[in-house]
Amino acid sequence: MTTEMLAVFLGSSIRLAMPLLLAAIGELVSERAGVLNMSLEGMMLTGAFAGAVAAWATGSPVLGLVAAVAAVVPVALLQAFLTNTLRANQIVSGLGLNILILGATTLGYREIFGARSREAIPGFDKWSPPGLGDIPVFGEAVFTQVWLVYAAPLIVIAVAMMLRTTALGIALRAAGESPRVLDRAGLSAVRLRYGVVIFTGIMAALGGAFLAIGDIHTFTEGMTNGAGYLAIAAVIFGKWDIVRTAIACLLFGAATALQFQLPAMGIEVPSALLIMSPYLLAFLSVAGLVGRQTAPRALAVPYWR
């Protein structure tokens, strides 16, 4: 691999990992608090759709991002209401929401864009931090990215600090391990779980919006194409630890980037195997073949006061 190819590979790995990373941070916080958001896929799709539509209508990608976050809140509230108040099966309600959102965004896309499909949508410009952008070869290929990419590591650090050192972080983890203890301590497990689902929604919407207005600059039907499930897989593979989850996302991004990189290098590997590899890694991880299982104890268990 030449230096140029390595640089391009690194750059595209980071770019492809970004939607996963944003969504996975949200999902990690939520799972640590005991809520499994199967609807992550649908939330990302909501963000992608709302972001694309708003950016197209207003011509401003920033407004697109705002719209993405605004649009996902009702979805997240519905998911939170179903899982926390109605204590619905978290998997069933999540899959149902995914089906609903896939249908609704496809319908909305046809209504709004109709024949003008595939029209380019105004997106964020790429930017390189001073200094880093001037590095030969790597500056252009790796460090010239949409600003959200640079925000992501900051969010990871902030969330890691929040989970580890703050009272809120301890309360969140308690909600995922033993919600009853939390309730006895005078805090509401249900209210916390509402909060984490909304946080997940916002992060997923950022991830989805990144896809639509940060990377591809268009919306296509069902464009998330399993990214939400992949983000959940990253949390599992990362053993519910934020740094490991972030690394898992980068790894999954790299596996996706390899699909395009390997043929360019003249190496014949069936692309199906590369696309499958993140799921396979996550599967081996949950199968206990890669270390021990460390899922939060009350994960996906509705809380009955």
């Binding site: 309600s93 896939l102 897989a233 599992i236 996550a282 949950v286």
Partner: protein, 369 residues
């Protein structure tokens, strides 16, 4: 079984197979379906399309011709098989989300065996029976992995079956992509990769023998299996064992049932049903393996299983509903210009409504995990 005494609860007269309150259990899904259809109608009006035209296209697509009815029925058979497997495992309180993957490996196995040298020449219908059995075994294996993991390592079956589904979906892609596996030699650069066609002898016989109404023998097979599942779940010791393990594993163990064996068995059966569904799709409808052939069927089957709330008749009703709904949606798009996505919305609404309604339905039942 240790002693005769421990097995007596299975025969105790107080135990009834379907102790769930029937009227309410029926009311909620029906209300959810009607409500979802009403929302669908509102959406059609909102998008400015004539409702009558959309409705007539919808009915046409579902019941308009012998071909339409047959296509819907064939689709329902796939949903019914996956749904039956789902409620079987769910009786032991296990959630099999892996129907999609079990269909996929079933499809691969059915194709590989049907195309194997000599199989196409087998007499007495063995040309299609052998691939069907192979697919069932492949599906059972795929489901069994999740069962063994659950029993041995304690891996959450929802996560493992979901991941196995993704792996299987890409296995199909790999099989049709690689010439060493099942890809047919390229005919032109424009054709999407797929396997060679299933030989005629291996295709499922049509009930009418006429391609104008292509209902396959998958239908009677599904009906027969439904009766079998109803009997096993409702009247047999195995059915009681599943229920006991599902409701209270500790008590079940005290009664002499092996929790681990039950879990593995439940997943073998659920997976087998998924694999058989894959064979029915390949040998009775698709006739060649293509990437993404299982797309959505497994998840629709899962939804059918969920809607049924544990009853076999519920699976049959829900699979008919969704089979006709999906077929009608496709026709509606072609003839009335109403996007199929509308049907997807209706389906999503039904699932969300039923998932939420469990709050009221399950209150009268003992707490479940």
């Amino acid at each position: 079984m240790t002693t005769e005494a421990t097995s007596t609860p299975a025969r105790a007269p107080s135990w009834r197979p379907h102790a769930v309150a029937v009227p309410q259990g029926l009311l909620v899904p029906v209300a959810a379906v009607l409500g979802a259809f009403a929302c669908g109608a509102l959406l059609v009006v909102a998008t400015g399309l004539p409702l009558g035209q959309a409705a007539s296209a919808f009915v046409d697509g579902a019941f308009g011709s012998a071909y339409a009815i047959s296509a819907s029925l064939n689709r329902s058979v796939v949903y019914a098989l996956v749904g039956l497997g789902f409620i079987f495992a769910n009786r032991a309180n296990l959630t099999n989300v892996g129907g999609e993957g079990q269909i996929a490996v079933g499809g691969i196995a059915a194709t590989a065996v049907a195309l194997a040298p000599g199989v196409g020449q087998l007499p007495f219908g063995l040309a299609f029976i052998v691939p069907m059995l192979a697919a069932t075994l492949a599906g059972a294996f795929w489901g069994g992995i999740a069962g063994v993991l659950k029993a041995r390592v304690g891996t959450n079956e929802v996560i493992s079956t979901l991941l196995l589904s993704f792996i299987a979906t890409w296995l199909v892609y790999w099989c049709v992509q690689s010439r060493q596996l099942l890809r047919q030699p390229m005919t032109s650069a424009a054709t999407l990769p797929e396997s060679p066609a299933i030989p005629e002898a291996a295709q499922l016989p049509l009930l009418t023998g006429d391609y104008a109404s292509p209902v396959t023998i998958g239908l009677p097979i599904a009906v027969g299996l439904a009766i079998l599942v109803a009997v096993v779940l409702g009247r047999s010791r195995l059915g009681f064992q599943l229920k006991a393990v599902g409701l209270n594993p500790v008590a079940a163990m005290r009664a002499g049932f092996s929790t681990q064996q039950t879990v593995v068995l439940a997943f073998l059966v659920a997976g087998g049903f998924g694999g058989l569904a894959g064979a029915v799709m390949l040998l009775g409808d698709q006739y060649s393996l293509k990437a993404g052939f299982s797309s959505g069927y497994g998840y629709d089957g899962l939804v059918v299983g969920l809607l049924a709330r544990g009853s076999v008749s519920g699976v049959m009703a829900a699979s008919l509903l969704f089979g006709f709904l999906r077929s009608a949606g496709i026709t509606m798009e072609m003839s009335a210009g109403v996007p199929t996505a509308l049907v997807v919305v209706i389906q999503g609404l039904i699932v969300v409504a039923v998932a939420g309604a469990a709050f009221w339905l399950d209150r009268k039942q003992p707490a479940r995990g």
